[in-house]
Structures are given as C-alpha cells and as structure tokens.
C-alpha cells in the first residue's frame, strides 16, 4: 500500500494555496513571466516562475516580527510547511514523534547576495549572516512549528525534495517517526540566475518541455511539503488519506557533473527501482509527471529512459514545469503535490507550449487537461551530480 499522505502545502508561481494551484492546473494557467522582485540586467532575457508575494507580504501573512531574519527561502518554506500541517489537521505537534526533512539549494543566498558588501558595516543586516546556511532555513521552520524530534536538510540539487520525501517514508516505515513533514524550498536568486545563464540552458521564451525546438528552462521559486503519517496514527486519528507513496527509487547516472547520459541510465534505474518497490508493472502507471526541464539534454535523456522502461506503451506524460518554472530543490515536492492532485482530480495536467514532436523519440506529451482514470502516478526528479529520483503515488 505505501506510506499515507495526509496533508499538503504549497506556494508557487501558480498560487499561494493547494486550491489556487489546483485551479491554475485545471485552467492551463501558467505562472511563468517576467522577473519582478530581483534587480538584474538579465530580467529582459529570461522568463521565470516567481511567487507573487513579496517578502513583506509573506512576513505579514506569517505574522512575523518586522525584524525577523528569515530569508525568502525560509519565508516560502514556513508558509508552505504551516499550510501542510493545517491541511493535515495537526494542532499539537508533540502528540506524536514528528520530524521535518527539508530540501534546499539556495538557503539564505537570496539575502547574502543582497547584503554581502554591507555585512561588515551595517548592523541592521548582520542578522542575515547566520541564515545563509542551508540547514538554518530548515531549523527555523522546525522551531516555528515546534518540531523537535528530528530535523535535517537534504541538498542534492533538483532531486532534493524527492529524496526528502523518500527519507521521510523510510523513517516512518522504520518506526523512528510517527509522522514527518517532507519537501523543499528554494527562492530565486541572482546567483542561480547567473549560474544557469552561464551554462546556457536558460530560455528567453516560455519553456517548451519535450518540444523539438525547445531552447532551455525557465527558473522558478516555490516551497511545497507533504505530511506523511504512519498507519497507526492514521487509524487512531481517523485521518483522511489523500494518496499513498507506494514506491520510490534513487540512482546515480555516473556520467557528468551536470549533463545526463545519452541512454538516461540514472533515470532508467530510478524508475525501475520505484516500480519494483511498488510491485507494479510499467503498464500499471497511468500518468508520468516528468522532470521535463525543457533543456535539450534532459528531455532527450529522460525520453530515452522512459522508452527503455515503458517500451511501446508510454503512458500519458507531461511536465508541469511549464506552469511553475524549474523550482530546483523544491521541484520534487511541488510535483509530488501535483501528482496527488492528479489522483484526486482523476485528471492529467497538460504540458504547455508543446508544438512539435522530438524526431529522435516520437513521444508526444499530453497538451490539454485530460480526465482519465488514474490509479498510479509516477514523478521524476533528476539533479545535477547525476542524482536521479523517482516517486510513485497511488490512489487512496
């Protein structure tokens, strides 16, 4: 059956709540556009999936003191983690052994890059020196939510949140925790924007995953968390289960620091492992929420891996990064939420901006909202460093 998912929280370019995100997905309404909150000379040359709340709006929504030292990554993370606990009707954290596993790559970089030159002289901004650390964003969220049993941070690039979800499930199965908040958060930053620009894989247009003429990715920012609970807690508290995490797998592509191998070995192994754990045949997967970043390299490599696993019978698939942009460390959790929404809505979400099939593979993603009986959804997240993860979600 798997590990029960009893709550979700999300904030992304397509909405500040589960309801808003769901509505945008069903209306094919993308949140990718022009960069507003960061001053950079690249603003005209890129498109991003930005969360519309400014830091002061987030501060207000979270009822924080004005002189707090949360960075944007922390603010987004706290917003989504709080929402996930509320969604799961958890009011007393200490009632059960509760942990948090959060993923991030940016950490407090968004503030550090703004104030680095002032740290030595401006006392007002020195509070952000401490919060640069990737682990601090998790610790601050844990402290704010009263989670004391277990807290850790995973940083494995774009598969981080998927790995956080995997670890959470393992801790529950091992009986080490009764429930766990798992997911990730990353804010946009000049550091990342410039970095991806220099790798020349960012598109100046809306990204078109799996399209023959795709030019690259759009960066995004988001935070998303799932609440996983043990069967014992679910039964005792009579919790509503949204879906089950029935399988997961992780493997290393062992090819290059940032590019994926031509035969998608890491992706292939991760998908195989997840299917094996879930005890499913490829034919039982009803929808793949692909990693689909719209870079020439990933979409080709992932397509080959998908064909190696599914053969002639590739199920409906789409990349929702055309809605949110590539949210880096949060992506695995954002797309986990979308996979659960797909199961709840019995609907496959579209792969926006797709026009032409890739000649090398002939694979066509779903391009409109499609109502379909869904029992099992597979979600891919592949990160730099060859870290490939796959999660399988099954209908409750």
């Amino acid at each position: 059956m798997g590990v029960a998912i009893t709550g979700m929280g999300i904030i992304s370019a397509i909405g500040h709540s589960i309801e808003d995100n769901r509505a945008s997905l069903l209306a094919s309404k993308s949140g990718v556009g022009t960069l507003k909150h960061i001053q950079t000379k690249h603003s005209e040359l890129i498109k991003v999936g930005e969360v519309s709340f400014s830091n002061s709006e987030l501060t207000k929504q979270l009822h924080l003191d004005q002189d707090h030292n949360y960075t944007r990554t922390g603010l987004l993370g706290l917003f989504a983690a709080k929402a996930a606990l509320k969604n799961s009707n958890i009011t007393t954290i200490s009632e059960y052994r509760t942990g948090i596993i959060s993923a991030t790559t940016v950490g407090g970089m968004d503030m550090t890059e703004l104030y680095l030159k002032q740290f030595a002289t401006n006392a007002d901004v020195q509070k952000y020196i401490q919060t640069h650390h990737a682990g601090i964003s998790t610790q601050k969220i844990a402290d704010a939510l009263g989670i004391t049993e277990f807290a850790t941070t995973i940083s494995t690039a774009c598969s981080s949140a998927a790995n956080a979800i995997m670890l959470g499930a393992r801790l529950i199965k091992a009986g080490k925790l009764d429930r766990v908040v798992v997911g990730g958060t990353d804010a946009l930053s000049k550091f990342t924007i410039n970095g991806f620009k220099t790798l020349m894989i960012q598109s100046d247009a809306l990204c078109a995953p799996f399209d023959a003429d795709r030019k690259g990715l759009n960066l995004g920012e988001a935070a998303a968390y799932l609440v996983l609970e043990s069967d014992a807690v679910v039964q005792k508290e009579k919790k509503e289960v949204f879906a089950y995490l029935s399988g997961y797998g992780n493997a290393n592509d062992a090819f290059h620091q940032t590019a994926s191998s031509e035969n998608g070995e890491g992706a292939f192994l991760a998908m195989q492992k997840a299917l094996k754990m879930a005890e499913l045949n490829p034919g039982q997967i009803d929808y793949i929420n692909a990693h689909g970043t719209a870079t020439p390299n990933n979409d080709f490599s992932e397509s080959i891996a998908i064909q190696r696993v599914f053969g002639e019978n590739v199920p409906h698939f789409s990349s929702t990064k055309s809605f949110t942009g590539h949210t880096l460390a949060a992506a695995g959790a954002v797309e986990a939420v979308f996979s659960v929404l797909a199961l709840q809505e019995q609907t496959v979400f579209p792969n926006l901006n797709f026009k032409t099939v890739m000649p090398e593979t002939g694979l066509k993603p779903v391009t409109s909202v499609v109502k379909k009986e869904l029992q099992h959804v597979l979600s891919n997240s592949f990160g730099f460093g060859g870290n490939c993860s796959t999660l399988i979600f099954s209908k409750a």
Partner: protein
C-alpha cells in the same frame, strides 16, 4: 539471524595529511590546501585527468573515497552496488564564494560555468560515481555537526533492505581554511563493528 555489518576501512584527510585505517599514507609540510591535495593525488597515483577541474570540496571527497575504494579492491568486471551517503555543515560554501566573486563587480562581470557547476555539495558524489561507475543510491545531508547516528541508521536501512551491498559514508566539510574529510566503507565483512559508537570513535581518531 540478521547479518551484522562492519566498517572495512576508513580514510581521514585533515591538516595536510591523508591516512587510511589510522596509518599515514601521505603527509605534507605545506599548509595550503591546493598544493597539499595536488601532491597527495600525485603521491597516491590518482591518475585521473579530470581531478584538476574539481573544486576543493570535490577534490577532497574524491581523494578520500578513492583511497577507501581502491583499498577495497572491488571487482572491475561487474557493477558494484555501493550506495553513497555524504554530509557536511558548510554545503558548497567554499565554491559559492568563488562563484560570487565572479559576479560581484559590475564592470568585470563574467560568471564562470565551471565554478558554478560545483556550487552544489552533491556534485562530489557525482565525481566519485563517474570514476568508479557507481549507479547506486546516493544522498547528501547538511548537518550542524557530524551525525554518526543518522548515517548509521540510513546505511543499515539500505543494507538490510538489500538496496545496496556496501555503503560509502562520511563527512566532507570545506569552509575557508578549515577542511576535513572522514570517509568509511560499510559492508558485511570487516574488523570494526558498524555502530554509532564505533563511527564516532573512528571520526575522532
């Protein structure tokens, strides 16, 4: 009866010294990391042309892992199912600073792709996997301090569930002039019991 697991070998890199199972393999009089690690890799005959492109964190993690994995004399004719679990406190901060330098002056603004590539702590796992062709599970954790319990639990879980035959674990931290690497291999056979206390003892040794 459940199989017990053991630590079959471990490597420390700290204070210009590389040691394996407590024995010094190489020691340098030079305090500066770049010069030290270059001599160490030459002395230990790493012979890997891509070594020089790596950032400090990856060079250190790679060398320590190479020492341990070469010592293990793994069969080269089959795929080795060795999972990798590494951790640190500073993430990729050393390289992040270098990268930030390349974008901090408006009139000398040239972000470096080869530096940016290393601004993630888990790239070092990628480097180790590429050289030893390891496709197994891998993860990188950020801890406040070295956490033997967490690594022990995770490694045991992978071995018991047969997700991996061996697990390469450790702590690889690089922050300004402070660096340390502690890498150990967990498998069925070995002379040191795989337990949190033993891991802590070896870490401190």
């Amino acid at each position: 009866m459940e199989k017990t697991h053991h630590i079959s070998s471990y490597c420390h890199i700290k204070d210009s010294r590389v040691s394996l199972n407590g024995n010094t393999l190489f020691i340098s009089a030079i305090a500066e990391f770049s010069a030290f690690i270059k001599s160490a890799s030459q002395h230990l005959e790493t012979k890997y042309s891509k070594f020089y492109k790596m950032d400090n964190l990856s060079k250190m993690a790679f060398l320590a892992s190479d020492v341990v994995l070469n010592h293990a004399k793994l069969p080269s004719d089959k795929e080795n199912n060795i999972a990798i679990l590494l951790s640190n406190r500073a993430s990729s901060l050393d390289t992040d600073r270098k990268y930030q330098d390349s974008i901090s002056e408006a009139d000398n603004f040239f972000p470096s792709p080869s530096v940016f590539v290393y601004t993630l702590p888990n790239i070092c796992i990628g480097e180790i996997s590429i050289k030893h062709q390891l496709h197994s599970e891998n993860c990188f954790f950020i801890f406040d301090t070295f956490d033997a319990n967490h690594l022990w639990l995770h490694a045991e879980s992978l071995l018991k569930s047969k997700k991996a035959e061996k697990v390469l674990c450790g702590w690889v931290d690089f922050d300004e002039n402070n660096y340390e690497a502690f890498i150990y291999l967990v498998e069925e056979n070995g002379t040191i019991a795989h337990s949190p206390n033993e891991i802590k003892r070896l870490y401190k040794s």
